[in-house]
C-alpha cells in the first residue's frame, strides 16, 4: 500500500501555536502545515469531526493565520480604506463600522496573491484602523506586497497579540451565548467585541465551514483558558485540519494555493460577489483591466462544483474532459464529503462546459470516470443573515 497523494514535508523548523500543548493533550495527530505543526485530526477522526461540526459545534485553532492592523495616521477611515482599495477589489470605503468583508489581494495581472478578511471595528478609538486576516502560508508574501504599495501615512502592523479560534456549527451560537449573550445578536459578517471570561475578545460571525459560526481573536494571555472552557462544553469537539478541508469543500469555499492562486482571477474563481458595484465600475485595483474585461465579457474558464457519478473520490490534479473528448480543465480540490456521503470536487473548466448539469469525465488512475458539473455549495450554507 502506498499513499498516492504527496504529504507536505519541510526540513525547515516548524512553528507551534499557543494551543500546541492542548492539541497534544487532546490526542491530536500533528502534521506540518504552512510552516506550523497543526492538528490534522483528534481522537474522533476526520469523518466524525466533520459530522460533529455540521450537527453541533466544532472548535478550530486557526491561530496560524496572519493577523494585522492597517492604520491611517490621521485616524480617518477614508484614508485607510482608500489605501487598501489600491490593493483589493472590494469596496472598503463603504464597509460599515462593525462589519467584515471578504476580499482578495490581486496581482497586476488580475491573479490572486491571497484571499483575506477585512474588518472595521465599531469601537471608539479604532477609527482609521482595519483588521486583516490572511492565510498562514501567504503571510510573508502578503505583508511584503502590502508594505511595498502603501502610501505615506498608512501603516501595516502584524500582531501576535491574539490567538484566532473558530467556533462553527448549528450550536455555536448557543454555546458562545452562554459566555456572552451578545454573541447571539451578531449577524453574518458582523464584528463586535465579546466579553469572555472577563476578557475583551474581538469576534466576527463568519467562518470557513458553511455553518453558523464565529471567529474569535482571543488575547494571547487568556487563549488557553478560553480554549479549555469551550472544549469542555459537551456540545463542542476540537476539529482538525482534515475536517476543516472537507467542510469548506462541501461549502464550495476556495482554499488558497489550490482553488485560487496568482493565475486565477476572482471572476474565474466565481468570487465576483465579493467585488462591489462601485469597484466594478471604477476599477483602481491591481489587475482591474483583466477583471473588468472578464466581468463584461465573461471569463474563458470558471471554477465549478463537480460531482462524480460513482463513489470513487477524485482528487486535486485530476484532468477534466468533455465526455469521450478533449481536456477542458483540472480539479483543484476533491475528496469525500461526509455530509453528502459521497465524493465532491471543484475545478476549472472552459466556460462552455461550466453550466450546471453538464456531463464531464474525470481521469482517475488513468481511467475516465463520469461526473457532472453542479451548483455549489454541495452542503447548503446555514449562515445567520
Amino acid at each position: 500500500m502506498s499513499a498516492g497523494s504527496p504529504q507536505s514535508t519541510s526540513a525547515a523548523a516548524l512553528e507551534r501555536t499557543a494551543l500546541y500543548d492542548r492539541h497534544v493533550a487532546l490526542g491530536a495527530k500533528m502534521v506540518p502545515f504552512a510552516g506550523y505543526e497543526m492538528p490534522v485530526q483528534y481522537n474522533l477522526g476526520v469523518l466524525k469531526e466533520h459530522l460533529w461540526t455540521r450537527d453541533s459545534a466544532g472548535l478550530f485553532d486557526v491561530s496560524h493565520m496572519g493577523l494585522a492592523y492597517l492604520r491611517a495616521e490621521d485616524g480617518s477611515h477614508e484614508t485607510v480604506a482608500r489605501a487598501l482599495e489600491t490593493l483589493v477589489p472590494a469596496d472598503i470605503l463603504n464597509l460599515a463600522p462593525g462589519r467584515q468583508r471578504y476580499s482578495q489581494l490581486t496581482t497586476d495581472d488580475g491573479g490572486i496573491i491571497d484571499d483575506l478578511m477585512v474588518s472595521r471595528s465599531a469601537e471608539h478609538g479604532s477609527e482609521g484602523s482595519l483588521f486583516l486576516v490572511v492565510n498562514a502560508g501567504r503571510k510573508a508574501v502578503d505583508y511584503a506586497h502590502i508594505l511595498s504599495r502603501l502610501p505615506d501615512g498608512v501603516h501595516l502592523s502584524p500582531t501576535e497579540d491574539f490567538v484566532l479560534m473558530a467556533l462553527q456549527g448549528p450550536r455555536a451560537a448557543e454555546v458562545l451565548s452562554g459566555l456572552d449573550p451578545a454573541a447571539a445578536e451578531m449577524k453574518f459578517m458582523a464584528v463586535t467585541p465579546l466579553a469572555i471570561l472577563g476578557n475583551t475578545v474581538p469576534a466576527s460571525r463568519s467562518g470557513y465551514t458553511g455553518e453558523v459560526g464565529y471567529e474569535l481573536a482571543v488575547p494571547a494571555s487568556c487563549a488557553v483558558a478560553v480554549w479549555n472552557v469551550l472544549v469542555a462544553d459537551d456540545r463542542v469537539e476540537p476539529i482538525g485540519l482534515g475536517a476543516r478541508d472537507s467542510l469548506r469543500l462541501e461549502a464550495g469555499l476556495c482554499l488558497y494555493g489550490h482553488d485560487i492562486d496568482e493565475t486565477t482571477s476572482p471572476v474565474e474563481a466565481g468570487l465576483t460577489w465579493s467585488i462591489q458595484k462601485r469597484r466594478r465600475a471604477e476599477g483602481g485595483f491591481p489587475g482591474a483591466a483583466r477583471i473588468q474585461a472578464e466581468l463584461a465579457d465573461g471569463p474563458a474558464r470558471k471554477r465549478v462544483g463537480i460531482k462524480p457519478d460513482g463513489r470513487a473520490p477524485a482528487r486535486e490534479g485530476a484532468e477534466i474532459r468533455a465526455p469521450g473528448g478533449e481536456a477542458i480543465g483540472m480539479l483543484t480540490s476533491g475528496g469525500f464529503g461526509p455530509t453528502i456521503g459521497g465524493p465532491v470536487a471543484m475545478g476549472y473548466v472552459a466556460t462552455e462546459h461550466a453550466g450546471a448539469g453538464t456531463p464531464v469525465e474525470l481521469i482517475v488512475r488513468d481511467k475516465p470516470m463520469p461526473a457532472h458539473v453542479v451548483d455549489m455549495p454541495f452542503a447548503p450554507h446555514r449562515y445567520a443573515r
Binding site: 500500500m1 502506498s2 498516492g4 497523494s5 490534522v40 477522526g45 476526520v46 470513487a312 482528487r315
Partner: protein, 125 residues
C-alpha cells in the same frame, strides 16, 4: 494458525493452502484514517508481485494496494466495496480485499512474518 506474511507497504497475505488472502494491516488502516472508498480487482486477473491490484481511499488520500506475490485473483470482497468503513473496523479480519491463487509459494519467503513486521512498524513510526 494460518501462515501470515507482510510487506513493507503494509499489506498482509494470509496463506491457506495455495490461496493467499490479501488485505491491509491494522496499522495501515489506522494511518489512513476513515476509509471511504475501496476498489477491488476483477476475478480472474493475473497479477505480478508488486502490481497495483486494489485501491483504498480514506478521507485523507488514495492508496494503491500491491499484490504481495504473483498469482491469479480468485475471489474479491464485495462487502468492503459496499461498506468501506469495515476496513477501519476489521482490517485484518472480515475486511480482506481479495484472494489469490499463489503462483509460487517460494515468493512468500521474501516477505516479513508478524514479528518482523511489528519491528518494521515500530522502527518506522
Amino acid at each position: 494458525m494460518a501462515d501470515e506474511y507482510f510487506t513493507e507497504d503494509h499489506e498482509y497475505i494470509r496463506v491457506e493452502g495455495d490461496t493467499g488472502i490479501v488485505g491491509i494491516t491494522n496499522h495501515a488502516q489506522d494511518q489512513l484514517g476513515d476509509v471511504v472508498f475501496v476498489e477491488v480487482p476483477e476475478v480472474g486477473r493475473t497479477v505480478a508481485k508488486g502490481d497495483a491490484a486494489a485501491v483504498v481511499e480514506s478521507v485523507k488520500a488514495a492508496s494503491d494496494i500491491y499484490a504481495p506475490v504473483a498469482g491469479e485473483v480468485t475471489e474479491v470482497n464485495g462487502e468492503i466495496e459496499a461498506n468501506p468503513a469495515m476496513v477501519n473496523e476489521d482490517a485484518e479480519g472480515a475486511a480482506w480485499f481479495f484472494k489469490l491463487k499463489i503462483a509460487d509459494k517460494a515468493d512468500l519467503s521474501a516477505l516479513m512474518d508478524r514479528k518482523a513486521y511489528d519491528a518494521f512498524v515500530a522502527e518506522n513510526t
